[in-house]
Symmetry: C3
Subunit: 268 residues, 3 copies
């Protein structure tokens, strides 16, 4: 059941990193140094380190949208960890698609809503940590990154600690979208750096229909792509990530509409 | 005529990325995942992802200044694409120096002002896309990055689509610098993150001469390097990219002079 | 005495980059292109390029904290260089841990306070530069990166230029922390992107003791980890880098306390 790493050339093995460590300090480099000490042949790809500090919901969204595009067998190490040093568990999860290594605080619940967990373990075996006495504030360096590097180098999930029931992994409670007659009610779950407003309404709710979306009193018609409207005009569409999105052609919908995360939207 | 990739070890093959996708979201990682699925041995180097959104002129400038420093045969994938999903062409261009893959919106016109196009094609062969039904908003993921990865892996330019006349590639109309008697008139074409003001006046207009530059009423003498003036003082010089530049030693000329892109300068 | 590179597979050889070049412009990519032209098999890891412009103290702090985590033999190229083109020396230093390549302006003095210099040279041999006529404003591209790439590819330190006495390398004068009876007086030497305030008081001054720290009239008790206090509350602790640190659980201590670099702290 456990995917073997041994059928890949070691220099083809990928490990991704996602965190809120930013890129101004040396934290991410320290993690990459620790990984290189364990296995200098691993290829490391940054998903992003600019998750707003301690924002588990944003981390959950980015990880969920990135994982499907990576080769089978990729190890994803994700560290947004406001509970570091406290009682939350550190876990690793095996999917058909690859492996996840993270604190058990809801960060993985987006990926897990789209992928079945084959197995999960709690990271208690300090043989695969950087040190048996990890810092109480930087488990990214001392636990998550070294465990991810070992996993990507052929250590099995079961060596990392005792198996846990994947059903017990923490789920982040997001407002769900609901359908009532012809009306769908959802909310803005993510705002990207272009200012595009990503709702929590998935593609299949609107596929093949004529629809428009209402937000803060604006009714916006659905079209195919940004350039279907004039520069500066609002458009609703299904974004490349598969969610209903509100954008402005060549501009910033967040600034235009003064919208915050959680803002309600209605589709009819 | 077509440079062969086969004389290189696959792990030496470079692909660069330039975009306005930012580094806060997962977009760039998705592109790197797509590339790794096609060829996990490729080396990917980011030129920058912090081009101001939809700013084709800034993308053109950065790409033009980066390409000459990469090994022959490097594939450069550049995506600043306000017309995504609309009628603009997607193209690939072969140079003696390497390959360019981008939307045909002027982004390539800087590189092409310094390098002869050996051949160009329109990217219509969906065999080399991620999917034959690409998203209407993210051709970076679905067309440009996969085409670039295939090109860097040995697919020939001609397999990607029908040849087009390189003369038909879109050129960005920038204000040109002009010379009249002993006076050169130009403008600020780029401002870097140090606040250094880069003009559109090339090195050869001033080489071997005594000169000074006037901007917003300030007359600034040309010297060799930043530390030739005191800390906080203005200096004019030929920057490392080969253009006339205005800077402040250990400080920010943009803030000092409140200058915007396009601001006129005169050299005498 | 000189560590040999030849016992490593070339694709395992690491070179790190640290600078104040930012990631908006193409400068860092140009450096990576230059390195790839010299040796396309080198693995390049960014420490950070977001050092505040010309801030040697911040560069010194980040480099000092990153170097210990990289494999033995790693070459670290660090360029924060307000004196570029002036009279400061360009140097390379050999440690048991690896190699440093940088301007001699104090940037290396943090690493050198924790690692003995085995040898040092001044970078005068232009055979290992990109060009024998380097730009007067971009020695990162023309001297430091190419020298680092050659060093990581097996060129010996002694080939790069004449040996110099490591004792003559420039030291950055930071306020030192001092101890008087039971009182330790120090200051804030670095503020990270979470807003955590890092003092210049090392771990061994407080190890095994009960202590609290005073800053701007606030007395803050030392505990183990961020989550030992409620969300929004101040905590003092030894940070993962080994220095006494002041933080706020799930928030930003810099904003909370309006603290600047150099602010005094007292431990009792």
């Amino acid at each position: 059941m456990i995917a073997s790493m041994s059928d890949k050339s070691p220099s083809q093995q990928l490990l991704t990193l996602l965190s809120d460590f930013g890129i101004s300090d040396e934290y991410v480099a320290v993690i990459k140094g620790v990984i290189a000490q364990i296995n200098p042949m691993l290829r490391v790809v940054d998903i992003t380190h600019k998750i707003p500090p301690q924002n588990i919901a944003a981390a959950r969204f980015c990880l969920m949208n990135a994982v499907p595009y990576f080769p089978v067998g990729t190890v994803h190490v994700a560290v947004v960890d406001p509970g570091v040093g406290g009682k939350r568990r550190a876990v690793a999860v095996e999917l058909a698609q690859g492996f996840l290594v993270a604190p058990d605080n809801g960060l993985l619940s987006g990926v897990l809503s789209q992928n079945r967990a084959i197995a999960a373990v709690e990271l208690t075996n300090s043989d695969y940590w950087r040190t048996s006495e990890p810092s109480s504030t930087f488990h990214g360096r001392d636990i998550f990154a070294p465990v991810g590097a070992h996993l990507a180098s052929g250590v099995s999930l079961q060596q990392l600690g005792p198996e846990i029931d994947p059903e017990t992994l923490v789920t982040l409670n997001l407002p769900e979208c609901s359908q009532k007659n012809d009306m769908i009610i959802g909310c803005i779950q993510y705002i990207d750096h272009f200012g595009n407003l990503v709702t929590n309404i998935p593609e299949n709710y609107v596929q093949g229909k004529n629809w428009s979306v209402e937000i803060k009193g604006n009714i916006i018609k659905a079209l195919e792509t940004y350039s279907d409207v004039k520069i500066g005009e609002l458009i609703a569409l299904v974004g490349s990530h598969g969610w209903v999105e509100i954008a402005v052609n060549s501009s910033n919908a967040q600034l235009e509409l003064s919208v915050k995360l959680g803002e309600l939207v209605e589709i009819s």
